[in-house]
């Protein structure tokens, strides 16, 4: 009897620790070296803090603002997540229509590209005029930035679905919607997640730009306040927080992709162990 898959022995914890160390140690070392170099530079040349604050000073600024930061982070993350949600919803909806109706593709695709050429710094203030200082305009900015990569990569996935597989389900009596459900949508899942990852990487930035133009809470507002009082160290705190938040969002999408498309990771890990 052949052993069933899944009964494979997992690598020992020690081996896995070694694997992670090999993967994450070099980038971590590089980061530490850069921060140390930056600190040394500032101290050696006595750079003014409003020009370039030392990492140690940024850390102090972080400790000062520890109390107010979580509130701002919550606002920005809520806007980012909501925006991403709508970006995914609209993105997939548009992708399905574009993939199924050639006429819509011809009409809509150029328009979508145009929508991406409008600079956000022009659009964001307008959105605030239209929708007020609440969360709405920020969510719209995030969705506008995020839906495009989702549409493009999902359309790719839908239209590149295996034609022979489409033929097979049609031979089983599947009509257009069933073909979509049984073949096209599952084929598009990996592409959808690729687009969602790009959208996630830009989502926090989109929300911050929206807040920057006006609002009552959020990291964008935090940055505005820091700038008007020449607290460059606090601006740096916000920059680091935005970077970490973006990475967290990206990682969350990555995990979601792993859970939603497990078959892709099966083939990869099998090849990896050979």
């Amino acid at each position: 009897m052949t052993p069933a898959p899944g009964a494979r022995a997992r690598p020992s914890p020690l081996a896995r620790a070694g694997h992670y160390a090999a993967e994450y140690l070099p980038p971590a070392a590089l980061l530490v070296a850069l921060v140390a170099g930056w600190e040394l530079w500032v101290r050696a040349f006595d750079t003014k803090p409003y020009v370039l604050p030392a990492p140690s000073r940024v850390w102090d600024a972080f400790l000062e603002t520890r109390g107010v930061l979580p509130g701002h982070i919550r606002t920005t993350m809520a806007e980012s997540l909501l925006g991403l949600f709508f970006a995914a919803l609209i993105g997939v909806g548009l992708a399905v229509v574009i993939a199924l109706v050639p006429f819509v593709r011809r009409v809509l695709y150029p328009l979508l590209i145009v929508s991406q050429t409008i600079p956000m710094i022009v659009l964001a203030p307008l959105l605030i005029v239209w929708f007020g200082f609440g969360m709405t305009p920020k969510v719209i900015v995030v969705a506008l930035v995020g839906f495009f990569p989702i549409v493009v990569s999902t359309v790719d996935g839908l239209t590149n679905a295996d034609r022979e597989l489409v033929g097979l389900v049609r031979s089983m009596g599947a009509r257009r919607l069933a073909v979509l459900r049984y073949v096209m949508l599952p084929s598009a899942l990996p592409g959808f997640f690729a687009g969602l990852k790009i959208a996630a990487a830009y989502a926090v930035l989109g929300a911050v730009i929206g807040e920057y133009m006006g609002g009552s809470s959020g990291l964008g507002l935090f940055i505005t306040r820091a700038q008007t009082s020449f607290r460059v160290d606090r601006v740096f705190v916000a920059v680091v927080v935005v970077a970490l938040a973006s990475m967290a969002l990206f990682a969350a999408v990555h995990i979601a992709a792993r859970l939603a498309t497990p078959w892709i990771y099966v083939s990869k890990s099998e090849e990896g162990t050979k």
């Binding site: 009897m1 052949t2 052993p3 069933a4 898959p5 899944g6 295996d162 022979e164 597989l165 033929g167 097979l168 389900v169 049609r170 031979s171 089983m172 009596g173 599947a174 009509r175 069933a178 049984y182 073949v183 599952p186 084929s187 899942l189 498309t261 497990p262 078959w263 099966v266 083939s267 099998e270």
Partner: protein
């Protein structure tokens, strides 16, 4: 393969049960035109009805011609193939002669340049959904585990997912797939993938099966085992089968009739009836009558090849 397999009866019974519970979705064009009495000629207790004398053929390809590339490459020329309800009919022919193309016509996926294609008397040109079709490639769904792959056809036909999975699970051991219910297709061997594709085709609730070289990826031992299994199941529920193969012996062991095709452009070189009684035993292949018929088929195949 599993040594300790279930007795064939119960497997066959499971498949009959699977078909009994089939829901005839409204889009299935043949549900109303069925003549069920005509489909059980082996059942002596059933009286033939008036209908059965004028019964329509299960499969009828009439004067099919096809050319790809806007008429540039002629692939099929005036091909006529008929299978009566419950018959097992094979197509043999050299590679590239258009066997798969012919099946695609019957599956409704390809409209031929000329000719008629009927399944149970209904025109199927460009109208998929009338048959259970197993393409030459296994075409498993990468995103479905093995068990879920087996039940796709049943699900699309509107059968209960749960019931379909239970029926498929019961058949896994017989297909040498025991223990692999939760495996992804990439984790299966070529032969396992093909057996899974065959199982999936059997679970499509249609009365006509089109099998395109279903045993192409199997070794000789596995093949014989599948031949035995296929005969058993076919005898139990008497679906019409159109079977494509390169293997003349395989065609003879399984079929009621064998069509021999010429090299491209494919034409019908000969139709040979296979009279051996069923169930056919493995020793049949050494029977002089069998050997003679095999020689005849091989001669016809040679005649259909272009002059060297």
């Amino acid at each position: 393969m599993e040594r300790n397999r279930e007795p064939g009866r119960s497997v066959a019974a499971a498949l009959v049960a699977a078909r009994a519970s089939q829901t005839h979705a409204p889009r299935q064009p043949l549900a109303s035109t069925r003549d069920h009495n005509a489909r059980t000629p082996n059942n002596p207790t059933q009286q033939p009805t008036a209908n059965s004398r004028h019964m329509t053929s299960a499969i009828e390809l009439r004067h099919i011609s096809h050319a790809f590339g806007g008429g540039a490459v002629s692939v099929l020329e005036d091909v006529t193939v008929t299978a009566e309800p419950g018959q097992f009919v094979s197509l043999v022919g050299p590679s590239g002669c258009g066997k798969s193309t012919l099946l695609r016509v019957l599956a409704g996926l390809l409209v031929p340049s000329a000719g008629d294609a009927l399944v149970d008397g209904q025109d199927v040109r460009g109208r998929p959904g009338a048959v259970a079709y197993m393409p030459q490639k296994d075409l498993l769904f990468p995103w479905r585990r093995a068990l879920a792959n087996a039940t796709v056809g049943a699900e699309i036909a509107g059968q209960s997912k749960h019931d379909a999975r239970e029926r498929a699970r019961a058949l896994f051991p017989r297909f040498g797939l025991a223990g692999f219910e939760r495996a992804w297709p990439v984790q299966l061997s070529g032969g396992m993938r093909q057996r899974l594709a065959l199982l999936r085709t059997f679970l499509v609730p249609r009365d006509v099966l089109l099998l395109d070289e279903p045993f192409g990826a199997l070794d000789a031992i596995n093949r014989r085992e599948m031949h035995r299994w296929l005969q058993e199941v076919w005898a139990a529920d008497q679906r019409t089968v159109l079977f494509v193969t390169h293997d003349v012996e395989e065609a003879l062991v399984l079929s009621d009739a064998v069509y021999v095709m010429t090299a491209r452009p494919g034409r019908i070189q000969a139709r040979v009836d296979v009279p051996f009684p069923r169930p056919r035993v493995p020793s049949l292949v050494t029977d002089p009558a069998f050997v003679a018929l095999k020689a005849q088929l091989l001669t016809e195949l040679d005649r259909g090849m272009p002059p060297a």
